[in-house]
Structure formats: C-alpha cells, structure tokens
C-alpha cells in the first residue's frame, strides 16, 4: 500500500518537473516509470538515511572488526610502534583469560536474576495501575516514573550511600535488628560493594530493578488497554480466578509485547555498565567485573589496547545475538511476532 502511493508520488513529481510535452518521454519521466514499475521508491527514500547510518555506524563497525585482528594501541596511534596483523591472537588471549569467563559468569547470572525480577515487578505494577482509580494510578505512576527518570549515575550514587559501610542506612538498620532475624554478621561496617561479586550484584540488582520496572509497567499498561473488555467480562461471568484470567487472556494476547520487553531487558542487563562501574569502585575489583567492565578495562585502561577491545566487542555482540536470537526464532515460529 505505502509503496504504491509513494511510487505514484515520485512519478507524479517527475511529470510535474519534466518538460511535460505529450508524446515525448523525458529522461525524468522515464526514471519515474522505472521506479514505479520496480517499486523502488521506498528504497530510494531510505537511501539517504541508510547512507548516514553506514557512515556513522557501519564504517566504525568495520574499523572495530579490522582492529580486532591487529595489535592496535596507543603506540600505534602515535606511530612509535608498528601496527601488525596478529591473526586470531586477540581472540585466543581472551578465551584463555579466566577473568573473561568470570566476567561472563557475572553477566549471565546477573541477567538471570534481574531480567525476570524486572519483568515480574513491572507486570504486577502494570496490572495494578490498570485497576487503580485515577488519583491512585496517578500517584503510583508518578512515583514509578521518577525512579525511571533518575539518571543511572544519580541512582548509583544514591545506592552507594544507602549501602555504605560508614553510616549507610542499610547497614545501620541491619545492625539495630535482632540477631535471630538478620544473623550474627557484624552489620555495622559491612562492606557490600567491594567485598565480593554476590554482595555487589545484590545491590546492583535491586538498583537496576528499581530503575527499570517502571518502563515495563507502563508498556504492560499500554498493552492492557488494547485488550477488549468483553473478554474479561466473559471470564468474570464464567467465574475465572484472576490468576487464570491472566494466563488465559492477558498473557496470550500480550505475548508479543512481553517478548519485546524480555529482549530489551536482556540487552539492557547485559549492557549494564554505569551502575556496575560506580558501585564496584571504578574497575578497582576485577572479580566483580561484568563483560562491559571487562571490555572497558582491557580496551581503555592504560596502556589501551584497541585491538583487544575490538575483539571483545565482537565477541560480546555475538554472545548477545546468540542469547536473543534463539528466543526470537522460536517466537517467530509460534507466530508471536507476526
């Protein structure tokens, strides 16, 4: 539909601009007909944007790919050291490095916890918002949007102070609680952020869920508004429980939305950098790296190694593709995306 209209428009524009004499086909008219016959208009219209993307995105991407097979670093930029092709050695060095696997483990485990937590909290809030009265819905959504609107840096600093061993609210509260409830750990002065990956990622997971559930909630709410009320009415007449209503009506109808939200959450949580960088002490604790921190450390800490960084970026991109592609494929087969 769209392409026929635009093809028509282009042809018409050609006619208007051309000499316009009957019986003689000007080159412009001919071009217009060619475009229309082959339905090229949408592609022509896309070309400028594609060219822009190619220049700012594809060209650097190609550059990264080239670097990943070189020993490219600062000395190569300044010209005191020769740039050499090093084959696959950036890749083999990465796969041999135990810290790479540790970072990968931290990244995956974090996503395994944070993605479902974000989706569940967000969905519950979305369902709640759908049933609340106007005033209450306004209050809840405003509070949630504020958490969402808080910049990651500000949120991280906030959580850093909440969990600070020197008078942070969390440690102070835990130290005032009875031992039978919170264990006999010396909570006053408990170091959450640099004392181990489990503690640090507990803090980060709470932070990330807090900052990303509002988006899920709002998206779910928007989806819920599209479901015809008759379906819920019929379910109520049949006496279905809310649990059953959700799994039999809401979930199947909103599957495409959930799929998109799931994919976005996976990508966001794999890419989570700011919070991890600030909470774990700016690259000071290698056992708490996730993949983005690991890549940043290898690529940019002095002496920078852009070659190794490029290889890592490619590996990371492939990992993300693998993680998301499998799910997309099965879902397309199930027809959820069509």
């Amino acid at each position: 539909m769209a392409d026929t209209i635009s093809g028509h428009a282009v042809a018409q524009a050609g006619r208007a601009l051309g000499p316009g004499r009957a019986g003689r086909k000007s080159p412009l008219t001919w071009t217009g007909e060619f475009v229309r016959r082959h339905r090229l208009a949408p592609y022509l219209l896309l070309t400028p944007a594609l060219a822009g993307i190619a220049l700012v995105l594809l060209w650097p991407l190609l550059q990264v790919a080239l670097y990943s097979f070189q020993n490219y670093g600062l000395g190569q930029v300044t010209g005191v050291l020769p740039t050499q092709w090093v084959g696959l050695s950036n890749f083999t060095a990465t796969f041999k490095d135990p810290e790479f696997w540790l970072s990968l483990r931290n990244t995956v485990l974090f996503a395994v916890v944070a993605v479902p937590a974000t989706l569940i909290v967000g969905t519950v809030v979305g369902l709640l918002l759908n049933r609340l009265g106007r005033k209450m819905a306004f209050f809840v959504s405003t509070s949630a949007i504020l958490a969402w609107a808080t910049p990651p840096v500000a949120g991280s600093v906030l959580f850093y102070w909440l969990f600070n061993p020197d008078g942070g609210l969390v440690d102070w509260t835990l130290s005032k609680m009875p031992h039978w409830l919170v264990g006999s750990t010396n909570w006053a002065g408990y170091n959450w952020t640099t004392n181990g990956a489990l503690q640090a990622y507990t803090v980060i997971a709470v932070l990330v869920v807090w900052q990303s559930f509002p988006f899920i909630g709002v998206a779910v709410l928007a989806g819920l508004k599209t479901i015809p009320a008759e379906l819920y009415e019929a379910a109520r007449v049949d006496g279905a429980s809310p649990w059953r209503v959700f799994w039999r009506i809401t979930f199947p109808l909103m599957k495409p939305i959930f799929l998109v939200l799931f994919l976005l959450s996976v990508i966001w949580d794999f890419n989570m950098f700011t919070q991890a960088y600030l909470i774990t002490g700016e690259l000071g604790n290698q056992n708490e790296y996730n993949l983005p921190l690991y890549i940043y450390d290898k690529a940019f800490t002095f002496p920078p190694s852009y070659g190794l960084g490029g290889a890592l970026a490619l590996i990371f991109a492939v990992i993300l593709l693998v993680v998301t592609a499998g799910y997309v494929r099965t879902s397309v087969r199930q027809g959820a995306l069509t």
């Binding site: 002065g189 004392n195 604790n285 290898k298 002095f302």
Partner: protein, 450 residues
C-alpha cells in the same frame, strides 16, 4: 526531504570529522622545524587540585624564567590542573587526537616508563647531559626515567610511605618507641585497640600495592627480578610469601584491620569521595594509617581535631632494626612529544626543577627534593610528621614498579590487589599466590596475562 538531506549532511559531517581526527591521530610525532621558536604561551599540566601556595610558587618560577631567558619574556605560562584520577584519560585523549595536549607535563614516576614507551614524551637525553644541575639528581631516580639509554623526563620531587600515628595515643597505650619489627607492630596495634575500644589498630586495605610491596621487601622478598633480560616473578618465594601473609593476617589473624577495607584503596572505594582508611584515621577510628606525608592536607580537610598529635614512623621490616624498603614514589617533569617548542619547554623545566626551586616546592607540600645535596640537610629530622618519612626515604626501592608493563600488571590487571583481596576473603594461600605469580611474570614480559 529536508530531514533526509540534513541527516545525510550530518552523517557526512560526522564521518568527515572522524576521518580528520583519524588522520590527525596518525600525524608524525617528530618536532617541526619550529622547535626553537618563541611560543606565545606554554601549557604546563600539573597533577592534583590547585593549592594557593603552589600557585604562588609557580608565579615566582615564571618571573625567574622570563628573567633568565629574555628571548621568552613575552611567553605566557598557563598551568592546567589535572586531577590524578583523570590523567590517563587526558593524556590518552591528547595523544590520540593530537590536539589539546600540554607542552610540559608532570608525571607520576611510575607513569613515565609506560608513557615514554607509547611515544608520549620527547627525548631529553642531551638536554639533561648539558644541564649543570642535572648531575646532582639522585641517580636511581633519573635512571627510572631512562628507557634503553634514552631519557624522557627528569625527577621533580619524591615521597615515600610510612605509618601515621597519634603521639598521645601511643603514650596512653604505653608505647614508648615506634615499632621496628612486625611483632612489635602487631602488639602495638593491639595495645592501641585496648586503650581505645572501638577503634582498629592498623589499616590494611587490599587495593594498596604501593604499601604491600614494602612488606614483601621488608621480609627480604622481591616482587620480580630481571634475569638475563627477562622478568622472573618472585611473589611465591618463602620471603615474599611471608610479607604477603603478614599483610593479609593484619585482618585474618591479628584482627587489627577491619574487613570493610577489603577491595578498598587507602582512600576508600575507588571513585568514592569519602569513607576510607584515611578518613577513619583523621576521625580517630583508626589508630595507625599507612600513607605518605602528602596525605596531611587531605587528613586535615577531614578533621583537625587530632592534627597536633600526628607523627610518623617508617614501615618496619620483619625483624628490624632497619625499616622495610619503601616504594620510592614521586613526580617527574617531561616534555610532550607533540609540543612544537621544545627549547622553551626545556628552559622552563630547568627553572621549575632548579635545586632551590624544587626544594622549596617539595617542602611546601610534604615531599622531598630529588637532589642528593638537599636531602641530607637537617630540616627534615626536626618535624614530627616528616622525620619518620625522612628516615624511610633512606631505604627505598622502585623496581619492578617502574617496568614498562607495570601499568598493565597493576592498573589493568590488578594482579597484587586481586591476590590480596582473595587472600583476605579466605582463598587458598599457595594457589592464590602462585596464580598471581604466573600472571605477573607473563604481564611483565609480554604485556598480557596469558
């Protein structure tokens, strides 16, 4: 149409900018023919944050420079202050873009070999040779700035770490003389904790390589040594292991350091603006604190309550009586390779680093001058804070912290901090130290852990 056209234009502009930056980045680093020209201004990068006394000092230096080198009397000297934490990023940006760099830069002395090897610094070998004051420089520190026979910077001031304490606390705990062995250090730390309940005796942050090496050296061990042109890591020799174990045991066995310092530097979590062992010492929550004399101003900024009682002693060696070798820290002055005015740069350096100017400068901020003649004067032994550090300054070591790949080993790969952190969290001692040893040897030799 308008939108797509401007999008394409933006795309082209961005690509062009990227291309020019890349071309500029590939530019030659050799000086142009104007090396001896008269610059309108010289840019000096200083590390840290501006302090009034240092700005006054710099004004004096500039007027001397104008008087001594009349050909540069109209040259403006601009000092840019670079926070220590930003220096790597700022140097890298200046190097890769080829723009916005300094003419002269201050460097931490462990920075110099790495940056010289990346082509950031100009060759000053012949200038140093022709410089009359140059012969008075402490030879070992000048050697630190020399790579394969080429000198890239000159030492400007130096400093060593020692242990800070409070005189009144020592008196109340019944400690009459500063500890000179590890056993005394631990018993004194415990005595202080007994006299001041709720405090910790001696802070041992795990991310503190420059202090940990003193304990390795203090037991007679080495971090790594050069044999036949190759680095051999020595973290797992019995002597080195004794030093590593003692430092970890300050937390694990003697309980004189709190567990919250695990993963922290002496200044707390990296990037955090407060909450570290420095702050705890200034507030009286930590009895003994390892750092250099330069910490004084930041300790005062936290609290001035106890400052009249502050004093220092050198880090003890395992069995005494001489202190453990301290890491010889400090700063150098180098000429940026891309600076077009190398003659003027060098002339300004000779004024900034003249024995009298360098000494005034070092004294004003708790450092030591790099000239042998000035170091032996009595001025340092009379100050309670400086006397301990002055004693420590007599026993220093820098290798392998000045080796070409040390930045990779310590900053990128965190080898010693990671090892110490794992040990403090209860990891198997032998396996952890062996792993760090292998990684260290690989990095020192090849620049890569694997």
């Amino acid at each position: 149409m308008n939108i797509t056209r401007s999008a394409a234009a933006i795309g082209a502009a961005v690509a062009l900018a990227g291309a020019t930056a890349a071309i500029a980045g590939c530019g030659s680093s050799t000086p142009s023919s104007g090396a001896s020209g008269v610059p309108a201004k010289l840019i000096v990068w200083r590390m840290g944050s501006p302090v009034a006394s240092q700005e006054t000092w710099m004004k004096g230096v500039v007027s001397q420079f104008h008087k001594k080198f009349p050909q540069f009397k109209n040259t403006k000297v601009v000092v840019d202050w670079i926070p220590w934490g930003n220096r790597t990023q700022d140097w890298t940006n200046a190097l890769t873009s080829g723009k916005g760099g300094p003419d002269i830069t201050e460097l931490g002395n462990t920075d110099t070999p790495g940056w010289a090897s990346q082509g950031a610094l100009a060759n000053v070998t012949s200038d140093v040779r022709a410089w009359s004051d140059g012969s008075q420089l402490i030879p070992g520190n000048l050697a630190n700035d020399t790579l394969n026979g080429v000198t890239y910077a000159v030492p400007w001031f130096g400093g060593v770490r020692g242990i800070w304490y409070n005189k009144d606390q020592f008196a109340k705990a019944g400690i009459t003389a500063a500890p000179t062995t590890w056993a005394e250090l631990v018993s004194d730390a415990k005595a202080l904790m007994k006299a001041y309940p709720g405090t910790y005796g001696l802070g041992a942050p795990s991310d503190y390589t420059n202090a940990i090496v003193s304990f390795i050296w203090g037991a007679g061990g080495q971090v790594a040594v050069q044999q036949g042109g190759k680095w051999v890591a020595q973290l797992n020799t019995p002597a080195s292991e004794a030093g590593i174990k003692f430092y970890a045991d300050l937390l694990l066995k003697y309980h004189v350091s709190p567990s919250k310092y695990i993963g922290e530097t002496e200044l707390g979590t990296v990037g955090a603006t407060s909450g570290g062992s420095d702050e705890d010492f200034a507030l009286g929550k930590l009895d003994m604190y390892i750092d250099g004399p330069w910490a004084e101003s930041s300790l005062e900024a936290v609290s001035k309550k106890n400052m009249a009682q502050w004093a220092s002693f050198p880090i003890p060696s395992e069995h005494g009586p001489n202190p453990a070798p301290a890491f010889a820290g400090g700063s150098d002055l180098g000429i940026w390779a891309k600076s077009p005015y190398k003659t003027a740069d060098w002339d300004l350096i000779t004024v900034m680093d003249s024995p009298s100017n360098a000494t005034t400068f070092a004294n004003s901020q708790g450092f030591f001058p790099e000239f042998t003649s000035k170091l032996s004067s009595g001025v340092y032994t009379s100050s309670p804070i400086l006397s301990g550090f002055a004693k420590a300054a007599g026993y220093t070591q820098i290798s392998p912290l000045n080796s070409k790949n040390w930045a990779t080993a310590d900053a990128t790969d965190n080898i010693i901090p990671d090892m110490m952190k794992a040990l403090m969290q209860g990891a198997n001692f032998t396996a952890t130290v062996n792993k760090a040893n292998t990684e260290l040897q690989n990095v020192l030799n090849t620049g890569s852990e694997t």
